[in-house]
């Protein structure tokens, strides 16, 4: 009886790995390099993967370790890829009351790394608090408070002007999405 090779499943997780890598690095090219490293590590260390456990969580763990160790090596204090930080949020006030997807991305980029990461794992990738805590090597309560703070900070950054509601239309979103693909998250 031959068991399925878990390595055959790697490919299914690639899109999610890329999405997570882009959220960590905020740079498409760096993200893909990291995904490549992760893929090679996963392939050559596949015996360390415990069958029956969540492969995506395992891969994301390798990915974030790759990211944090390369970041330590580079000793970059602040990454300002694509000028997201210096550019700031919405140069112009939201004159038309529409929140654009670019603003959302910029706000996301302004979060602290660990807050953005927690939010991405729990809010977008569908991991439980427990899984996210395992992956980040912290307590469940820490993940909860990081996601809460991330959400609160996002709400603050996205500017809740009391007098008008910020709306996002699919129109505006779609045009921005297609204009700025992968470049920043």
């Amino acid at each position: 009886m031959t068991r399925p090779d878990p390595r055959d499943e790697l490919v299914e997780h690639l899109p999610a790995m890329r999405a997570f890598a882009i959220s960590l690095t905020r740079n498409g090219a760096t993200a893909d390099d990291m995904v490549q490293d992760t893929l090679v590590k996963a392939w050559t260390n596949i015996e360390k993967f415990q069958e029956g456990t969540n492969m995506r969580a395992w891969l994301f763990t390798i990915l974030r370790n790759t990211y944090y160790s390369s970041r330590r090596k580079a000793k970059r204090e602040v990454s300002d890829v694509d000028g997201v930080l210096t550019e700031g949020l919405a140069e112009k006030p939201a004159h038309d009351g529409h929140m654009q997807m670019t603003d959302f991305r910029k706000a996301l980029a302004l979060l602290k790394d660990e807050q953005r990461e927690a939010l991405l794992l729990v809010g977008a990738s569908g991991f439980s608090y427990e899984e996210a805590a395992d992956m980040c090597g912290v307590a469940v309560g820490t993940i909860k408070s990081r996601t809460n703070r991330a959400r609160a900070r996002l709400a603050e950054l996205l500017g809740h002007h009391d007098d008008e509601s910020l709306e996002m239309t699919d129109d505006a979103t779609m045009s921005v999405l297609s204009a700025s693909k992968v470049s920043s998250f």
């Binding site: 893929l39 939010l119 996002m168 693909k181």
Partner: protein
């Protein structure tokens, strides 16, 4: 008019839901791009290396 999402609807739960929706959009956008060729090539190469070593 397309569907409009309120980012600012006072209600905390509603706001969180909208934030998560936006997050998913950003995330899904990358998912929808599929798998770039470089990764297909890489996986193919890894497979070939293994079969050359006769370990597979």
């Amino acid at each position: 008019m397309p569907e409009v999402m309120l980012v600012n609807s006072g209600n905390k739960d509603e706001r969180e839901r909208v934030i998560d929706d936006n997050l998913k959009r950003v995330f899904d956008e990358t998912l929808d791009e599929g798998i770039p060729d470089r990764f297909k090539d890489l996986l193919q190469k890894l497979k070939e290396q293994d079969s050359e070593k006769g370990t597979s």
